[in-house]
Symmetry: C2
Subunit: 157 residues, 2 copies
DNA sequence: GTAGGTGCAAACCTTTTGCAGCATG
DNA sequence: CATGCTGCAAAAGGTTTGCACCTAC
């Protein structure tokens, strides 16, 4: 796997950040992990485990579902990937590398996920936690509702 | 079912609020629903569907799992119960009646769930949504981390 | 050489569904 | 007495696991 069949640009560097970190934690760097990390970093949408599996299988049809799940779990523990509940029992993931932290609005009509960020929100969360001696490792803020477009279409009827 | 073997107090009144609302929406009020609602309202913890099933079966061993799920779904739609993702793919519920809205801190070590509320947080969420034309139906804010006690025990080691 | 990782298939867990019988309104 | 609800069991997702083989270190 020493040569790259195509230029991968930014996510190539990011992948090596992941590689270094995992190696440092005593994990092995396998072809499958490289592929899974590459695909996860290259995607700019919130993907399900199964969608990631499909992406990987385009490049290597014999990657197994179990490996994708196992790798996602390692990546999540290492903080490179964040799992988010879609509110209907499902789970989606996003990579965190190079992204700023943000929260999510989930449209219940079209399932679109909108990212947003508000520093004051972040600050007040820290404050609320500090007040009761709770130490935040991560947080998830999801607003469920209806997006602009869906609201508009709803009104037409 | 006309007489009560034990005083149930507050949750009895709350149950009738639910009953009225469901009847008004065209649902039937069955023994199973009464039982499920009673147990859901009486519990002061965040319960899983299965835990609620167990509670119900203590009173009536033949309640089916399907009925609990179907009733929880009705209650959630009607706004009497709120489902919350535990971050690990699981779901827990809490009843909303008589509770003020609040958010949650989840201790990743002892699994304790701490409720908190911050009005400013609520306001800023509304604001952020308004800014992009998103209409919030509900939201969930979970802070994952370590609670005071677990932090203390950790330091001991 | 030896952990650790992989693929496969089966197991698991939670939730949903089809259907026949039952109870509510 | 008609329709909606229930129980059962089976199906459906999504995720995890046991095991034999493989491969990175």
């Amino acid at each position: 796997m020493g040569t790259h069949p195509e230029p991968v640009g930014k996510s190539e560097n990011e992948a090596s950040v992941v590689e270094d970190a995992l190696r440092k934690s005593g994990f092995r760097w396998t072809n499958q992990r490289a592929l899974i990390v590459q695909e996860a970093l290259a995607t700019h949408v919130h993907f399900t485990a199964d969608e990631l599996l499909d992406l990987c299988r385009e490049k290597d049809p014999k990657v197994s579902r179990a490996t994708v799940y196992r790798t996602l779990s390692v990546l999540e523990d290492a903080g490179f990937v964040e799992g988010l509940d879609t509110g209907d029992g499902g789970r989606r993931f996003e990579h965190v590398l190079g992204h700023d932290h943000h929260d999510h609005m989930v449209c219940l009509m079209c399932e679109k996920i909108i990212e947003f960020r508000d520093d004051e929100l972040e600050r007040r969360q820290e404050l609320a936690a500090k007040r009761i001696g709770f130490s935040i490792a991560r947080h998830s803020l999801h607003l469920y509702g209806t997006c602009k477009q869906c609201l508009r279409e709803q009104r037409k009827k």
